[in-house]
C-alpha cells in the first residue's frame, strides 16, 4: 500500500496527451483512402517515474498501437508524447535517436523479433553499436553482463535464436532492451506467447530488473490477472479509448466502469469451489472502422441509458486518482 502512495507522489516520466492514430483503409485501382481505422482515438495518460503502468484490453482496443506510437514505430496522427520534458513526436535525427536510447520495447513474439541469422550476442549488442557506447571490449562486457542479468550464460552469446526455447528467447528480448540501460521500457504482451510455468519466470525477472535498475514500465497485456500481478496502476482500454485508469488496488476493489467489471468477471478463476455470478457481455467488440456513436461501449453495456448512445462521456477524475469515462458514474 505504501508503495502505491509513493507512486502517487512520484513525478511524471512520460506524458501522453490526446494521442490519435488512424490507419487508412485503401481500396480500388487507385488505392484511394476509403475509410479510417480509428485504432487510438484521443488518449491521454502519464507514466510516473519508477512505476509499472499496466494497460489492458481485448484485441483491437489500441493498446499495442499506443506503445508503438510512443516510440514512433508507427507515426501517430496527432497528439503529443512528452518524455522528460521533450516532445518525442517533434524530434528528428540525432535528438530522436538520443531519446530512443532511454525508451526501449520488448515485443510479444520472441520468435519473430530476433534476427535468425545473427548470434544473439550480436543482437543484444546492436543497440550499443548504434549509440556508439564504449569500446568494442566494453560493449562485449556489457552484453555478457546483461545476459547474466536475465538468467542466461556467456556461452549463449554465440548461439542463434533457433537454439533457444520461447522463454529463453523472451529473456534475450529483455536483454536487448536492457543493454542500453534505458529508463523506460514498453513491454508489449511479453508473456502471452509463453507457457504458464515459463510466464512466471519472465514476470519475476521483469520485477527484479525494475528494482535493480529503477526502471519504469508500460506493461501492455490482455490478461488482467497478469496485469494485476505486475502493475502499480492500471489503464483499461476499449475500442481505441481509455475507459478507466487508477491504482491497482483501487481497480480491483472498486472498479467503476461497467466494461472493467465485465472484464473482471469474465476471467476463469482456477478454484472450482468458487462459483461466481458471472456477468456475461452480449455481442462482439464492434469494428474500429465504425465505432458506435456516443460511448463506444453502450451497445454491450448492461446499464446504458439514452445519453450513452448520444454523447461521448468525458474521461474525468471521478475520485482522486481514479479516472473513468462513463455517464453512469456520478
Amino acid at each position: 500500500m505504501s508503495q502505491t502512495t509513493e507512486i502517487h507522489k512520484a513525478e511524471d516520466l512520460v506524458q501522453v496527451e490526446h494521442l490519435v492514430k488512424y490507419f487508412p483503409v485503401r481500396a480500388g485501382l487507385m488505392q484511394r483512402v476509403v475509410n479510417w481505422v480509428k485504432a487510438v482515438d484521443d488518449v491521454s495518460f502519464t507514466v510516473k517515474k519508477g512505476e509499472t503502468l499496466g494497460m489492458v484490453g481485448e484485441s483491437g482496443c489500441g493498446k499495442t498501437t499506443i506503445g508503438r506510437s510512443m516510440l514512433r514505430l508507427v507515426e501517430p496522427t496527432s497528439g503529443s508524447v512528452q518524455y522528460d520534458g521533450r516532445d518525442v513526436l517533434k524530434l528528428r535525427g540525432n535528438d530522436l535517436k538520443d531519446v530512443r536510447r532511454h525508451m526501449q520495447i520488448i515485443f510479444q513474439d520472441p520468435y519473430a523479433s530476433l534476427d535468425p541469422r545473427v548470434p544473439i550476442g550480436e543482437s543484444v549488442m546492436e543497440g550499443l553499436h548504434i549509440h556508439k557506447i564504449g569500446s568494442p571490449q566494453e560493449r562485449y562486457d556489457l552484453m555478457i553482463e546483461t545476459l547474466k542479468k536475465v538468467g542466461l550464460e556467456d556461452y549463449h552469446a554465440r548461439r542463434y535464436p533457433h537454439e533457444f526455447s520461447g522463454g529463453q528467447r523472451q529473456r534475450i528480448g529483455i536483454a536487448r532492451a536492457l543493454a542500453l540501460r534505458p529508463n523506460f521500457i514498453i513491454c508489449d504482451e511479453p508473456v502471452s506467447a509463453l507457457d504458464v510455468s515459463i510466464q512466471s519466470q519472465v514476470l519475476n525477472i521483469l520485477k527484479d530488473l525494475q528494482k535493480e535498475f529503477g526502471l519504469t514500465y508500460l506493461f501492455i497485456a490482455h490478461n488482467l490477472s497478469v496485469v494485476e500481478h505486475i502493475s502499480d496502476r492500471v489503464a483499461v482500454m476499449y475500442l481505441g479509448k481509455m475507459v478507466e485508469l487508477t491504482s491497482r488496488d483501487d481497480l480491483f476493489k472498486n472498479p467503476l466502469h461497467p466494461y472493467t467489471k465485465a472484464l473482471m468477471s469474465a476471467i476463469p478463476i482456477p478454484d472450482p469451489k468458487l462459483k461466481r455470478q458471472r456477468e456475461v457481455l452480449k455481442g462482439d467488440v464492434p469494428s474500429p472502422l465504425n465505432p458506435p456513436k456516443g460511448c463506444r461501449f453502450h451497445p454491450r453495456c448492461p446499464i446504458a441509458e439514452k445519453i450513452c448512445s448520444e454523447q461521448e462521456p468525458e474521461f474525468r477524475e471521478a475520485v482522486s486518482g481514479h479516472w473513468v469515462a462513463c455517464w453512469m458514474v456520478k
Partner: protein
Amino acid sequence: MTKTDQKPLLEVRNLKTYFYTEDGVVSAVDGISFEVYPGEVLGIVGESGCGKSVTSLSIMRLIAPPGKITEGEILLDGKNLLSLSEDEMTKMRGNKISMIFQQPQTALNPVFKVDNQIAEVLNIHKSLGKEAGKKRAVELLKMVGIPDAERRAEAYPHELSGGMAQRVMIAMALACVPELLIADEPTTALDVTIQAQILDLMRDLRTKMGTSVILITHDLGVVAEMAERVAVMYAGEIVEQAEVNSLFEQPLHPYTQGLIGSIPILGQIKERLDVIPGSVPNLVNLPAGCRFAPRCTAREKFGLKICTETKPELTDSAPGHKVRCWLYQNSKDHQAPLKVKQG
C-alpha cells in the same frame, strides 16, 4: 450414483503415438490411459508439447505421417476405434465423436457458406437433403446463440468474428448429437469476454444434450470452471488424474503444484510467483526415470535418488486420485517421504 460408477463411454488404454522424424523418434504420447464417462467433462491440461492435442487427434484417428499410433486401444462403447477401417471411421467422425479446434477461422472451409458446411455433415451422416439440411442448419445456428441466424447462415467464414466462427464450429460439431465432443483449446484464440460466452454456451448445450466432453486446455481457470475430472499431462504422460475439487485442493504431483502456484490469480496479490525451473524436456531424448525429475525441487528437498533412475507408475494414492510420483510411492529402495490425506 456418480458418473464414474457407470460404464465408461470412452476408454483409452496404453495409447502410444510416436512421430518418426529425421531427428529421431518423438514420443509425443507415451502410454496414456484414461476413461470418459457418459455426460461428464474430462479436462486434459498441460503446457505446449505435453501431448494433449496429439491425444485428441489420436482418438479421432487424424494422425498423419510421420506420426503413427504404435500401441494401445481406444474403445468407444466397447468398440476399438483403432481396428476400424477408414470407411467405418469416417462414419464415426462428426457422428459419434466430433471435435472443435482452437482456430475456428482456419477449421472452416473459406469457400463455402456456413449453412452449406453444416448441411454437408447432415447429408453425410443423416442423408438429409440439401434444403432440409439448410433448414436444420439455421435451427442449429439459433441453438448456439447466433443472432439473426437466417442471414448469418448465408455468410462465408471470413465474414464472421472469432466468437461467431467458434459458435458455428460448435453447431457443426453437435449437428448429429455426438456421444463425445473433443474440444481442443476451444477458447484460447478468443478474447476473455467472448471466451465467457462460449464457455457458457458449451455448459448449456452439454446439459441439454448429455454429450460427454474432453476439454483440452492449458488454462487452469477454464478447467476449474468446466471440468469434473482432470488429467494433467507432462512430456507425453499423465502425471496426475483426479476429481476437479481434489486436484485444486490437494495437488499431489510437484508439477501440478508448480503449475497452480505459477499463475497470477485475480484478486490474490503475491509479491512473487512460484517458478518451475528449467523447461520441458526434448521428447526425443527423454531423461531416464521420472520425466519431471530434472525440474523437480521436491525431489531435491527429500533427497530422492530413485527419481532419476526408475520411472514411477501412475497409481491410486487416494480414491479417484492418481499420481505418478515417488514422493507418494514406496519402492524396494526407498520409503515414500509423503503421505496423502485421505478423503
